[in-house]
Amino acid sequence: MTTTEAKVGAQVGHQVGRSLPRLESRDKVTGRAEYVHTMRLPGMLHAKLFRSTVAHGRIKSIDTSAAKNFPGVAHVVTIADIRKVIPDPYYGPAFHDQPILADGKVRFVGEPVAAVLAADPHVAEEAVQLITAEYEELPAVFDEVEALTANTYIHDELKPAGTFADLKHLKGVRNTNVALDYRLRRGDVDKAFASAAHVFEHEFKTQKVLHLSFEPHATIADYKDSGVTLYTASQGPSFVRTEIARLLGWPENKVRVKVPYLGSGYGSKLYIKLEALALALSMISRRPVKIALTFEELFYQITRHPTTFRIKSGIDKNGRIIARKCEVLWNGGAYADIGPRVTQKSGLTASGPYDIENVSIDSYALYTNVTPSGALRGFGVPQLVWAYESHTDMIARALNIDPIEFRRKNLLREGRPHATGTVMKDAPSTRYWTSSPSGSMRSRSTAAPASSAAAAASVSASRR
């Protein structure tokens, strides 16, 4: 049926519920889908980045002279050059803590310190290797537990972006690596622990991992006095426009952000990433400038938060969880990115999908001297579920209760309040909670190999 046959009151059958192949299928299987990473504009320069080799240090000097004199190099740019076109060159979604290029200090290995522009990317790459920098190395903090109490501070003071009401109180706070602490208090946890028949306490950790979108980050900025156009591999063009307009002091209608096909993101291409630097470089060179990361450079862009989660539960004699205390430390890396939101939005689900009268949650976003952490498919929830569902299983096994039965007994049901006080609505029926979720789980054990089945449950708030 063609569209011209569509009628005001006609029926073409339900469209919702169809397993329709993706609309863009043909572009993707023919290789004709266009991604920013392979885009070119006429007259375009390529930028290659000189990155920090120290984790934390004061920049004593940057020598760009050899790179500037290298044949084919158009510009070599440091923060001093950027300040001439963008006087306050700091950006970020939660905090304006990230300089467009390192500004006086470097805070992680891989932080961009200088950029080389050339029409031939190989020339830019070769010239980057001619740049040298001297650093006065400072003590560095890598671990989130250490960061909480360390007296080495990654930032001199906190710089909340101001767009969040609940971060404003942090403005100007000094001598801390805690970018945000979210706390939840429900009931009386201490009293409940005192009355509990059993108390269990465990600590869980997750490691640093990353998105590795196969289309690495890429942005082309084309700056003109009349307006700027960005072609960018982004999951949030509206936010990019707002933030670029803010950096320029321009109205949003002079900033145009285009996103063709996106070679996935999983959270890595949210908010603002290369766009501010690409903008500055295009302003300086007055030509379109492309920054396209290599696969290796992805390791210096954005990652998932490593976490340390201490969780403690009190269980009564009937196998009910009556108290749960959660302390979650989020290793946010050198710049906040969206970490403070992860800390709060996911932190509030740290006690799990259970009906618990007494809950205490402390969730801390911490600065450290490693690649920044942000959103990665789950926005922090997978780290939390890892801990609370391992913990839940350990309790059930210790109490000799079937782990599924233990969960059934404690699950948050329709109409009951979650730890935050929000009442559960549209909960799926507990009839789905059989002790054998797939109906065919079995446990097997042979001589060397041992085999087994287990389950985990989770509930998480949408983070809108």
Partner: protein, 287 residues
């Protein structure tokens, strides 16, 4: 990548002439898959690459007779993988190649390159050592022959001079010899190996007459484990013998820690996999 020059000689002799015994920035380029990685990572910055793609065709051919295979060094890994002669005479090589890297790399990478690179993670060297393969090397003063076992001197190090090229690998036919190669990964299933174990046995029934046992990947170079070989020689394979061979191998091998695991862990899996590899060879299957 940083610019460099590329020569495309038409003959082996011409290629050797272009190589410089004293200049590490002049290097031969066969399939290039390994060298490209080093160049892209900035670990190797060549001044001149000498492409071997146009040298005489005979260096890309596989010849076979009853005694074994003669493999031209420029033979691609996929040509060797698919060679009917290899399947018949040295089935362990054909099976090993099946899981070596991926189809695209095998289509380009060469047998000579896989040896000359000296990378201890390569799958072919331990198998060739276990089978007692030899290779021919050509240089400005002519040819020499050496055992593959004697090629490697350390981590990415070989006995080859900078102006020597491997021209041919000779592999004795397995005949009745039973052999296996086990590639143990510690990350994803198709990771580079954390440990490779190759064994080749002369056996009658369950009795091992003689054995070669070679470890790779966990070690700085593909290495024969002679104490494990000694434990196996003349013995009937059973659970206890394999445990002893594993112990001997673990005690003997010089093992490195890296992102694929600690030396302690790799030593432990070597202990286990020596026995598994022997059993697989005896039973005629591969991991």
């Amino acid at each position: 990548m940083i610019p460099f020059d590329l020569a495309q000689p038409q003959s082996l002799a011409e290629a050797i002439k272009l190589l410089d015994p004293d200049d590490p920035t002049v290097r031969p380029f066969a399939g290039g898959t390994a060298l490209m990685l080093m160049m892209k990572a900035g670990l190797f910055r060549p001044k001149l690459l000498v492409s071997l793609g146009r040298i005489e065709k005979k260096y890309s051919e596989i010849a076979a007779d009853k005694s074994g295979l003669r493999i031209g060094a420029m033979t691609t890994l996929s040509a060797l993988e698919q060679s009917p002669d290899a399947k018949k005479l040295t089935p362990v090589i054909s099976r090993t190649l099946r899981t070596l890297s991926n189809v695209r790399v095998r289509n380009v990478a060469t047998v000579g390159g896989a040896l000359a690179h000296g990378d201890p993670h390569m799958d072919l060297p331990p198998v060739l050592i276990a089978l007692g393969a030899t290779l021919t090397v050509a240089g400005p003063r002519g040819e020499r022959t050496l055992a593959v076992e004697d090629l490697f001197t350390g981590y990415y190090e070989t006995v080859l001079a900078k102006n020597e090229l491997i021209t041919e690998v000779r592999v004795p036919a397995q005949d009745g010899k039973r052999a296996s190669y086990m590639k143990v990964t510690a990350g994803s299933a198709d990771d580079w190996p954390a440990l490779g174990v190759a064994v080749a046995l002369q056996a009658e029934g369950a009795t091992v007459k003689s054995a070669r046992v070679v470890a790779s990947a966990a070690t700085t170079k593909a290495t024969r484990l002679k104490s494990a070989e000694a434990v196996l020689a003349g013995q009937v394979v059973d659970h206890r013998l394999l445990a002893r061979a594993g112990e001997a191998a673990a005690a003997e091998a010089d093992i490195l820690s890296d992102v694929r695991g600690s030396a302690a862990y790799k030593r432990e899996i070597l202990r286990i996999y020596v026995g598994r590899a022997v059993r697989a060879a005896i039973e005629g299957r591969m991991h």
